[in-house]
């Protein structure tokens, strides 16, 4: 009886502990969560812009991205806002929206664009909205060879008060080359556009490219308060071509499981076979002991 009582007490403690966790999450679910909403504007090679809304919710002490939240995207000032469409956030809390073709034509004749993003009437989340105001701009990237020197040159024009495109001075674009897992910066942070809106760097000659030596060069102005994020991207065969020397299929320590070095496979298998033969012999002998 006493044992039963003790067992019951232990189970009760366990249930209380687990129950506490469940209760916590239940409490979390009941209250609409406050969220943070940010909106960014990106334009690549002067093509159609892309809007990115990011939804973050407070989890313990930090803000983490929230998935499956519908974000509405609007165009225009508050009095004549037009709903462009909606997208749902991904695991990292980001919702991407490509500005439709129809609107792009309208934007070609406008100097200032106002976009808004809003989380509205979402179960479990408080309403939130935000907007960005972007000035029209144009970017140019030219990759040229002058006196045997490879030069990457970037130029930016933005609309002035009179609606004319004029060079933008004093911006700090960063030059990158796309790599497998990210972007490799090839310029330093002191590159600045001059009165012509231009800046240039000497392109390194020792970067590995693909098998044809192709590299993707990217110039980025990141989240500028007037122009948003602007990217100029161009591909060129200025890289050192990668020669496939068949290392992928060689039997090495760093290759795939199928291409493990034969001596290693033979050694490991022999040792294991030896050990487990002995273990099996011992188990077999135990049956013999039983039957004696």
């Amino acid at each position: 009886m006493n044992r039963m009582k003790k067992l019951y007490n232990i189970l009760l403690i366990a249930v209380m502990l687990f129950g506490y966790g469940t209760q916590l999450s239940a409490q979390d679910d009941a209250k609409p969560k406050k969220i943070r909403l940010s909106l960014s504007y990106t334009n690549v090679n002067n093509m159609g812009p892309r809007l990115t809304a990011k939804v973050l919710a407070r989890v313990e002490r930090s803000y983490l991205g929230v998935d499956s939240v519908t974000v509405n995207f609007y165009y225009g000032e508050e009095e004549n806002m037009e709903l462009l469409g909606s997208t749902v956030t991904q695991e990292n809390g980001e919702a991407l929206f490509l500005v439709p073709e129809v609107l792009r034509k309208v934007m070609d004749t406008t100097d200032v664009f106002v976009f808004s993003a809003a989380v509205e009437n979402q179960e479990g989340y408080a309403d939130r909205d935000t907007d960005v105001e972007i000035l029209r701009s144009k970017t140019y990237l030219s990759l040229v060879e002058e006196d045997s020197t490879r030069i990457a040159r970037f130029r930016i024009l933005g609309v002035d008060d009179e609606g004319e495109f004029t060079p933008v001075e004093g911006l700090n674009p960063v030059f990158y080359v796309e790599r497998l897992f990210g972007m490799l910066p090839i310029s330093d942070e002191f590159v600045e556009t001059d009165s012509d809106g231009s800046c240039e760097i000497v392109f390194p000659e020792d970067l590995p490219g693909d098998k044809d030596g192709k590299l993707k060069v990217i110039v980025l102005i990141d989240d500028h308060e007037d122009y948003g994020t602007l990217k100029a991207v161009q591909q060129i065969n200025w890289g050192v071509p990668i020669v496939d020397n068949g290392h992928q299929n060689a039997r090495t320590l760093w290759s795939t499981a199928e291409n493990a070095p034969r001596p290693l496979v033979i050694t490991v298998c022999s040792v294991l076979l030896g050990i487990f033969m002995i273990v099996l012999y011992i188990i077999y002998s135990l049956f013999k002991i039983r039957s004696v």
């Binding site: 499981a257 135990l286 002991i289 039983r290 004696v292």
Partner: protein, 450 residues
């Protein structure tokens, strides 16, 4: 008349022997928990459950509830894993190395060592699955195993060591279970049934004994290279990288020496506790403590020698890649913990144990606890500070990413695994004799033929 006297004498001797035999069996048979024992179990169960609760939280929320990051990818879990692997080596030390070298005095300690080894290696495997975050990832480790990877070797060697340790615990138990199942020692019905099936129809026949002794000897020989292998391979998880503090050819023997030291300390702590809990003063004597103390001081000196090698030579060269790591250890952020561990966990034990008085049961028990706690933190110092000093240049890394201190869930999960391992030891001790009965009886010159 003379014949009758002789007969009476023989009968009296036989009765004496029988009396001693039954007394010994009764003293060594597993016993129910005392009130303190029940309290001990309750505490262990509660902390294990708390650890399990936080582990469930970790499964639900992911490894983000830990302080591990892109840089400190191995934290307290991996140092705890290395600690468990180290402790588990004691099985091979006592049951194999000492046994094969003819150190008869260690016979009563073999089972304690094997019990510790089995529970420690079980929890080493559990801890590494905890460290993976999602437990189903272990399936991928098996499915996509690369034989070139030390991680694969570690999985293989740990599984093998677990199987062999279980066999080495079980085989010498067979005659003891046969002895226990036949006696009315207040054992439960299921317990007797279990002993009956596990004793494999043991009749103490010559053939059975010959076979069993042969198997135990084979296992004792087999477990030595595997035990060395398990900790050497664990050290290779670190030493096969170029990281400061890990890039060492000394790491294999350094780990093995440290493992034998902490394993011996664990056996001493268990000896002392079990001796008191189960009144085993006649079987675990001050002589055993004295010998174990000598063994521990010898192992500590070997480990001290490896420590000097491990730190003095890199400090003498002060390669730029090692410099910041060594400075942090010697005079920087990790210095208080480093020097506490080296002094309390190694230097003081060596000094105290050199004196006979230091090898008396109680002082030796206290010293062993110091060695065990020191050894746990030593593993932490091996794993964590090296990760904070990566060789690859760090680029735009927030400062906090290079610092690691375990979170509350990590501490509770780690403590839960330590309590879980102690719980397994406690329950094994509850249901199997901690001192080999057959060997003890034979040591007293008593035949175990029933």
């Amino acid at each position: 008349m003379m014949n009758l006297q002789k007969k009476i004498q023989v009968m009296t001797n036989q009765e004496n022997l029988n009396y001693t035999k039954e007394k010994t069996i009764k003293a060594l048979a597993p016993k129910a928990f005392s009130n303190y024992g029940k309290l001990w179990v309750a505490v262990l169960v509660v902390f294990s459950l708390v650890g399990l609760f936080f582990y469930i939280q970790q499964i639900r929320q992911g490894l983000s509830i830990t302080a591990m990051s892109d840089y400190t990818t191995w934290g307290v879990y991996v140092s705890n894993f290395v600690f468990f692997v180290a402790i588990s080596l004691v099985g091979s030390l006592i049951s194999a190395i000492l046994k094969l070298s003819g150190a008869k005095w260690a016979d009563p300690l073999t089972r304690i060592a094997e019990i510790i080894a089995v529970s420690a290696i079980m929890f080493a495997a559990i801890v590494i699955i905890i460290d993976m975050g999602r437990p189903d990832r272990f399936y991928n480790v098996i499915l996509h195993a690369r034989i070139q990877s030390p991680i694969t070797w570690d999985v293989i060697v740990i599984s093998t060591y677990l199987i062999i340790s279980i066999l080495l615990l079980y085989l010498p138990l067979i005659p003891d279970m046969a002895i226990l199942k036949k006696r009315d020692l207040g054992l439960g019905k299921w317990q007797k049934k279990l002993y009956n099936s596990l004793s494999l129809n043991w009749q103490n026949g010559e053939m059975q004994e010959k076979r069993l002794n042969k198997l135990i000897r084979i296992l004792a020989i087999l477990i030595i290279p595997i035990a060395f292998g398990i900790h050497t391979v664990t050290s290779w998880l670190f030493a096969t990288t170029y990281r400061p503090g890990w890039d060492s050819t000394n790491f294999g023997p350094y780990f093995v020496a440290g493992a034998f030291m902490v394993g011996a300390a664990a056996v001493i702590a268990a000896m002392y506790s079990l001796r008191r809990a189960y009144d085993l003063e006649d079987y675990i004597t001050p002589k055993h403590f004295d010998y174990m103390g000598r063994l521990l001081v010898m192992l500590s000196l070997v480990y001290l020698y490896f420590n000097i090698n491990e730190y003095f030579i890199p400090a003498y060269k002060m390669k730029s890649s090692e410099m910041s790591h060594l400075r942090e250890l010697f005079i920087g952020r990790d210095a208080p913990l480093f020097w506490t561990v080296q002094i309390l966990g190694m230097v003081i034990p060596i000094i105290v144990l050199l004196f006979k008085k230091g090898r008396k049961p109680l002082p030796l028990f206290i010293i062993s606890l110091l060695v065990i706690v020191g050894a746990w933190f030593k593993r932490f110092l091996i794993v964590v500070p090296s990760l904070a000093h990566p060789l690859i240049p760090t680029h735009r890394v927030p400062d906090e990413a290079l610092h690691y201190f375990p979170t509350v869930p990590e501490w509770f999960i780690t403590f839960g695994t330590l309590c879980g391992a102690l719980l397994v030891v406690t329950f094994l001790v509850r249901f199997i004799p901690v001192i080999p009965i057959k060997e003890t009886l034979e040591g007293q010159g008593i035949q175990t033929n029933e």
